[in-house]
Each structure stands twice: as structure tokens, then as C-alpha cells.
């Protein structure tokens, strides 16, 4: 167990280093740098060359990489070039917002998907099953921004049920305690729904497929023979086995949890990782891009680890 853990941790660290190095190269080799965008007749052109010196962009690539890595291993990810704030502090301020949004979105995806699949399997290939299959497929095929705009148009502008954007209303930003929580919850409804609606289809499809397979397995039939109801046999016996591919799928979704859905964040003016990382990439804000990438990579590593553990819990044959 200890060896296994050490092995996994070492592999994880190596992966983070590889991804960070690759990102460093990609951003550095991409056309343009942080100073490129200072093209404006109102800004003296000499300022560009000056900024390249100031931010060390005129130094050779290996040198820049070495000094970044040297600082990074000590935990110093530097300061954002655009925002002049510590990268760690910036990410720490936006990451919770994204996590709140995406974890609720994923929970809705998962919960909704499981519920739908179970409903569908009451009568496989019946009318209900077909309608749900069609609906989930359609939702899966829809682009996230389309769903988001549709939800806003209907539930916000037409029916005035939920706010169309932001994490808090102006009153909410001033409030504390319960009113603030309620306000945040109201603002969460539409973006979470937008994530859930588009994702629920995939979960339902996966689960329906594997449940359909498991349903005819002998252990399920045996459970039925022992007098379990159809529903009990499905939920208690077949579901734990059918859920295995889903665990892998969820493990793979962890980077989404962290890096967020850019489209959803932009449409809903949500103050999260997606938006910050997007602007950082466009502005070639190397320290911020690298910081965000590292956080996302760590999430993947942790996600896979959790998926493995979850696998072991769900499937007694797997032992870590």
C-alpha cells in the first residue's frame, strides 16, 4: 500500500512537471508575447521593447525556463503580469467560485443521469424509455451556450424567476449571512442547470447501457429469484456494478471541475477559473497560465487517484 502510494505520488509529480514544461514551451513558442499587445498609437512604441526587458522576455528560453522552474519548486508561482497579484492568491480567489458551480453541475449531471436511467429501465424499449433517450440525446447534442441562452431567455427575461448573470446581485454583495447565501443560490440555478442539462444525457446513456447488460446477469436473476423486487434487484444489485464505467468518466471530469466551463462562465459573467485562464492565455500572461495549468493537472492526478479508490470500493475484485 505504501509503495503503491509513493509510486502514484511520484508519477503524479512527474506528470505535473511534464505538463507545466509543455505549457511553458507552448506559450513561449506561440506567436507574440505579453508586450505584443501594446500596439496602440497612444503608447510610445519604445514601451514594447522596454516591457520585454522588464519581464525578462528578451532572455533566451532555457534561461527563462530555468528561473521559472527554480522558483516554482519552492512553491513560488510568481505574480500575474496582467493583474500584478500573486498567482496563488488569484487562483485561490477564483477557484472556489468555479468549484461551487462545477461541482453542483456535475452532481446534477450524475444524480439526474442515474435517476433517468433507472426510470428508463422500468420498461426498456418502452415509450418512456424512447422519449427519455431522445430527449437526453438532444440535450447532449446541444451546445452549452445555446442551452444557457435559452434558459436565460425563458427563465430570466420572460418569467423573471432567476437572475441572468453574476454570482450575487448588487444587494447580495452588500449582504451577509443568510440573505447572501440565498442570493448566491438563486444565481446558481441557471448556470448549474445549463451544465446539468447538457451533461445529464451522457451519464444517462452510459448507465442505461451498462445497466441493461447487468440486468440479465445471473446474479441479478438470482436476486430476483430470492424474491427481490425488480426495482431492488436493479438498484441494490445491478447498479453498483453498472456504475464502474461511470466512475472512470467522473474521474476524467475533474479537470472540468477545476478549469471550469469557459462558455458558461462568460455567458453568466461567473467570476471563475475559466474566464481568468482565457484572458491570461490571450494576454500571454505566462505565470498565470502556468499556475492555472498546474492546478488543473493536480486535479487530474487527484481525480484519477480518487477514481481508483472509488473503483476499489465499488468493486471488491480491485484491490489497491
Amino acid at each position: 500500500m505504501l509503495r503503491w502510494s509513493l509510486h502514484r505520488i511520484a508519477a503524479g509529480v512527474a506528470l505535473v512537471w511534464l505538463v507545466a514544461t509543455f505549457t511553458f514551451l507552448l506559450v513561449s513558442l506561440a506567436p507574440g508575447d505579453f508586450a505584443t499587445r501594446l500596439t496602440d498609437p497612444r503608447i510610445p512604441p519604445a514601451a514594447r521593447a522596454r516591457w520585454r526587458r522588464d519581464f525578462g522576455l528578451d532572455r533566451p528560453l532555457p534561461l527563462r525556463y530555468a528561473s521559472w522552474l527554480g522558483a516554482a519548486v519552492t512553491g513560488d508561482l510568481g505574480s500575474s503580469w496582467i493583474y500584478k497579484q500573486k498567482v496563488v492568491a488569484m487562483l485561490a480567489s477564483v477557484l472556489p467560485n468555479t468549484l461551487l458551480l462545477t461541482s453542483l453541475g456535475l452532481a446534477l449531471e450524475l444524480g439526474g443521469g442515474v435517476a433517468l436511467a433507472i426510470v428508463q429501465l422500468r420498461k426498456p424499449h418502452g415509450t418512456g424509455d424512447r422519449i427519455i433517450t431522445l430527449a437526453t440525446l438532444a440535450a447532449y447534442a446541444l451546445p452549452a451556450f445555446g442551452v444557457a441562452l435559452g434558459l436565460i431567455a425563458l427563465l430570466s427575461y420572460r418569467l423573471h424567476l432567476f437572475p441572468p448573470s453574476h454570482m450575487l446581485s448588487l444587494e447580495g454583495e452588500m449582504a451577509h449571512g443568510w440573505p447572501r447565501l440565498v442570493d448566491t443560490a438563486r444565481h446558481l440555478v441557471l448556470p448549474v442547470a445549463a451544465i446539468g442539462v447538457t451533461g445529464v444525457g451522457a451519464v444517462a446513456r452510459y448507465l442505461r447501457g451498462s445497466l441493461l447488460d447487468e440486468r440479465t446477469e445471473q446474479y441479478v436473476l438470482a436476486a430476483r429469484a430470492r424474491g427481490c423486487s425488480q426495482r431492488q434487484a436493479l438498484v441494490r444489485h445491478a447498479l453498483p456494478n453498472a456504475v464502474l464505467p461511470l466512475i472512470t468518466m467522473m474521474g476524467m471530469s475533474l479537470p472540468f471541475l477545476v478549469s471550469g466551463s469557459l462558455v458558461i462562465e462568460v455567458v453568466f459573467s461567473w467570476p471563475g477559473m475559466g474566464q481568468v485562464m482565457y484572458n491570461a492565455a490571450l494576454g500571454r500572461d505566462l505565470p498565470l497560465v502556468l499556475g492555472g495549468t498546474i492546478v488543473a493537472t493536480v486535479a487530474v492526478v487527484v481525480g484519477n487517484l480518487l477514481a481508483d479508490v472509488a473503483y476499489a470500493v465499488a468493486d471488491p475484485r480491485v484491490r489497491v
Binding site: A30, A47, S79, K84, L168
Partner: protein, 500 residues
């Protein structure tokens, strides 16, 4: 009053700003400046109104400029705003460790002397037309608060934590990526004081969402409405649409270094062969005017006698033939020395207006037998390629300063000074005249030189001048008293008020 903005303020310290997100508009509400530049540059260079300075005068040899400051000016923490703050600001602007974008504007100011707490003197190394503008450039920052941070730490300091302001508004709250709430500073010494108690900037990155929220009444002001949406805003009874000339103008920049575009007959043919009037009318739906040359028609420096090239494909074809471009192999595309007349036209991916322009240009030039391949690129990559001279042609947009100085964009590129002349235009006569014009302290005499420069550049057609766009600001009809103009969204924010 809730104003939409596409991006949050990245820093409240102007001298650390990349000036990309329009945050200077916000900074202008929070910090004092010596004077306020007026948007009256149609007939003469802009004049200045008193702000922190009540009056100013030049010495007899014009090398010294003395400002008299308001004795009652205070920072938001009650500390007086004095000549020391002005000198400290100048030191920050000039310091290489601070790396302010406008540093070079202070090149000819030798030093700033404190005469007494309310009198400050700027000493210049030379006499030139924009002394007043260069002295005024940048807001005054608090020496007593920010002087504690050594200049080498400015790059990595979060100035919001030590924010001390001195403007009509002060910062009440800031939720990153969401909201900036400004409130009227009761201790503000300037006049008039704003009518509004609060001014809220709400970050809404998506333009379509901004408009929808304006329609829903959740926003009161949306800057930069796209021309396609103008009719929809105008049709709404609760909204007002204000239109005014911006300082933004667009052109097709031809890479003058390439053999294909080196001949000015060819460049003129391209300008004649693009139906510019129809292009501007189609894309901007009447919210832009045709551009004739390198100087904005809304400024005093514009040469009003410049000829406007009309759409003339026949003359264009003749010019191309004179330059040796003929369809010798009958494939419908002109060629010369066995090479077809074909090039890539670059434009930024995020900009739908410029995509439409690229397609219209492609269609127009196809009729002349020129093959244009429109290519969209991510913005920073596009600039990197033009900066490196690695492009054929690009649809480019400039936002001009009120200082009319054509050096960086139209003088022969100088490696030591840096340049914005990406298209590689070079005409020694133009270089000489530009250098003379920027030295000429008398603007009426400078105007004569500038008129001649514009004639020469237009005759050379290093670029095809396309349009000068107008800015469209949509507001709630209840907002009264606002005078929107190119000087900035909040130019007369003191006079805004809520009507019924």
C-alpha cells in the same frame, strides 16, 4: 447608475496598467489630474480646463511651466494633495523600475520642482508643441501612501490594498470579475460635485448579455453597441442611443516591403478596386464614415482638401496592367513573371465586422483578377506576425491619440525607437516633414506641414483607408445630463442625474 463593462479593472495604479480594458476611465474617476483635456480638437489642438491646478503659466522662454494647485485639495484619507504628490508622480512616471507605459511622454521634462506646497514647476529640455499635454499626462498618485512601496516592488504590488484616492468618487466595494462600486466622495474638493450617490460598474464579458440586461433594466449604460444592434436599441422606448465620432479608424495595410505591393500604382489600384463606400455602409449600417487619409477627419490636423478615391474598377485594371499584372495564362487571375496575384488577408478572429469586410474585399478584388484568401487569427498572434513583417495584408484598426504625431505609424521604421509602422511604409519626404511638424510649436504652421504629409501619404496609398467608426452608447432614457464624446465615457459624470 449601473454601467456595463466587459472586463474588471486589473490594477488601480495607472502606472502598472496595460491600458487594455478601459480601466483608465475608472481610474479617472478616482484620481486627480492637473488639468482636464477638452474634446475640442476639431479646430485646434485640445485645450485644458483646470482641475487640481487652478492656473498655469509658461516662462518667457517656454522652457518652464508652473502650475498653481488648489489649496483645499485632499486625498480620501484627509491628507492634503500637494506639489510633493505631483513631483512623486513624475518620479514614478520616469522610473524604469516602474515601467509606466507613458514613460516616453516625459522624455523632454528634465525635472519637476516643488516651489511651495501649492506651486510646482516643470522644467523642459526643449520647446515643442505638446508640452502642456505631456506635463498633464497621467493622474497624480498619493506620495504619502504609495511612496512607502519602493519602485522595484510596484510590478508585484496590489495597490487596491493601499488605495488612497482623490477624485469625485471613491471605491466603496470591489468584487473581482463582478462589480466595482464607486460612491461619491463627500470630501471631494473639486466642483461641480457629482449628482449621483453611487456609480456601479458591472462586469459582463459577453456583449450580447450586456444588451439583454440593458433591455431588462438591469443595466443602465452599455458602451460600444455594435452597429447591427443599433436599430433594436433605437426602437426601444426606454432606451436612448447616443452616437458620436470615435478616434477609431480602419484600413487595409499592405506590406509595402513585398514586391507585390511595392509599386504605388498597384496599391492605388487596390484602393480603387475596393468599393469602400459600399463596404463601410454595409458593414457599419451608417454608423461609420469613409476615411480618406492617415489623420482623423474630426481633428484640427485633417486636410479638408484631400481627394476621396471613388470606386473605379476600370482605372484600377489599367493601373495594374501598367504595373505589369496581366492574365497571361487565361486562368482568370492576374500574373506577373509567372507568379499569380494572390495574397492572404489577415484579420482578428473575434471581430465579426472585420470578417465581413474581409469577405467584401475578397469579392471586389476577385473581379479584378486578384485572389484574396481571408484568414482569421487569434489577436495576439496576428499582431506578432504584423510586428515581424510576416504578412501580406491585414485589416488593421488604430485608435488615435489627441496628440497628432505621425512619427510612430508613418515614418520609416527605426529599430532603435521602435515603430508602429508595421506595413513598412517609407518615404524620405514624409519622414522629413513629420520630423519638422512635431518640432513646430505653432500649430497653424504645423498644420501646413501636416496637410502636405497627408497629400503625400494619400498619393502613395501605403494602405487603403477604409473607415472612421462612430461609437454607440446605449443608456436608460432616465439618465439625463450625460455628454458622451471621445474624451471618455465619464467625461461629464458630475452632471449626470436621474430623470423621471
Amino acid at each position: 447608475m449601473i454601467v456595463a463593462t466587459t472586463a474588471d479593472v486589473t490594477t488601480f495604479n495607472e502606472y502598472q496598467s496595460t491600458q487594455e480594458t478601459g480601466e483608465l476611465d475608472t481610474i479617472d474617476l478616482l484620481f486627480p489630474a492637473l488639468m482636464t483635456e477638452q474634446p475640442d480638437y476639431q479646430l485646434h489642438p485640445p485645450s485644458f480646463a483646470p482641475r487640481l491646478a487652478t492656473s498655469w503659466e509658461f516662462s518667457s522662454n517656454n522652457r518652464t511651466l508652473t502650475f498653481h494647485l488648489r489649496p483645499d485639495a485632499r486625498w480620501s484619507d484627509g491628507v492634503p494633495v500637494t506639489a510633493d504628490d505631483v513631483r512623486f508622480t513624475f518620479q514614478a512616471q520616469k522610473d524604469a523600475r516602474v515601467g509606466s507605459l507613458g514613460m516616453e511622454m516625459k522624455d523632454f521634462i528634465r525635472d519637476v520642482e516643488v516651489v511651495d506646497p501649492h506651486t510646482v514647476r516643470f522644467n523642459f529640455t526643449r520647446v515643442y508643441p505638446y508640452q502642456l499635454m505631456d506635463a498633464n499626462d497621467g493622474h497624480i498618485v498619493p506620495a504619502h501612501a504609495w511612496g512607502k512601496v519602493p519602485f522595484e516592488k510596484w510590478h508585484t504590488t496590489d495597490f487596491e490594498k493601499i488605495l488612497v484616492t482623490g477624485g469625485p468618487f471613491r471605491l466603496a466595494a470591489h468584487t473581482p470579475q463582478q462589480t466595482i462600486i464607486l460612491e461619491r466622495d463627500p470630501g471631494y474638493w473639486g466642483s461641480p460635485r457629482p449628482n449621483l450617490d453611487r456609480l456601479v460598474l458591472r462586469v459582463v464579458p459577453d456583449m450580447a448579455s450586456q444588451l439583454e440586461q440593458l433591455f431588462a433594466g438591469q443595466l443602465n449604460v452599455v458602451q460600444a453597441v455594435s452597429p447591427q444592434e443599433a436599430d433594436r436599441v433605437q426602437a426601444n422606448r426606454d432606451l436612448n442611443l447616443v452616437e458620436f465620432p470615435s478616434r477609431m479608424w480602419g484600413m487595409v495595410g499592405w506590406n509595402n516591403r513585398l514586391p507585390m505591393f511595392a509599386d504605388r500604382r498597384v496599391r492605388k489600384a487596390l484602393s480603387l478596386g475596393i468599393n469602400r463606400k459600399s463596404l463601410v455602409d454595409t458593414v457599419f449600417r451608417g454608423h461609420a464614415t469613409l476615411s480618406a487619409g492617415p489623420v482623423l477627419s474630426s481633428t484640427w490636423a485633417y486636410n479638408r482638401t484631400l481627394p476621396q478615391l471613388s470606386y473605379d474598377p476600370v482605372q484600377a485594371a489599367q493601373l495594374l496592367a501598367q504595373a505589369g499584372w496581366r492574365d497571361s495564362n487565361g486562368d482568370g487571375i492576374l500574373d506577373r513573371d509567372g507568379k499569380p496575384f494572390a495574397f492572404d488577408l489577415l484579420y482578428p478572429a473575434s471581430n465579426t465586422l472585420r470578417r465581413q469586410m474581409a469577405l467584401l474585399i475578397q469579392a471586389d478584388l476577385a473581379r479584378l483578377g486578384i485572389k484574396v484568401r481571408p484568414i482569421q487569427m487569434e489577436f495576439t498572434s496576428l499582431i506578432a506576425r504584423t510586428e515581424a513583417g510576416d504578412f501580406d495584408a491585414t485589416i488593421w484598426v488604430w485608435v488615435d491619440a489627441t496628440k497628432v504625431d505621425l512619427t510612430s505609424t508613418w515614418s520609416t521604421p527605426s529599430p532603435s525607437q521602435g515603430t508602429n509602422n508595421f506595413i513598412g511604409y517609407s518615404n524620405p519626404d514624409v519622414d522629413r516633414l513629420i520630423a519638422a511638424a512635431r518640432e513646430e510649436p505653432d500649430y497653424t504652421r504645423a498644420k501646413v506641414l501636416l496637410d502636405r504629409i497627408q497629400e503625400l501619404i494619400v498619393a502613395d496609398q501605403p494602405a487603403t483607408f477604409l473607415y472612421e467608426s462612430k461609437l454607440l452608447v446605449a443608456t436608460s432614457r432616465k439618465l439625463r445630463g450625460a455628454d458622451f464624446n471621445a474624451a471618455g465615457l465619464f467625461f461629464n459624470v458630475d452632471e449626470w442625474y436621474w430623470g423621471t
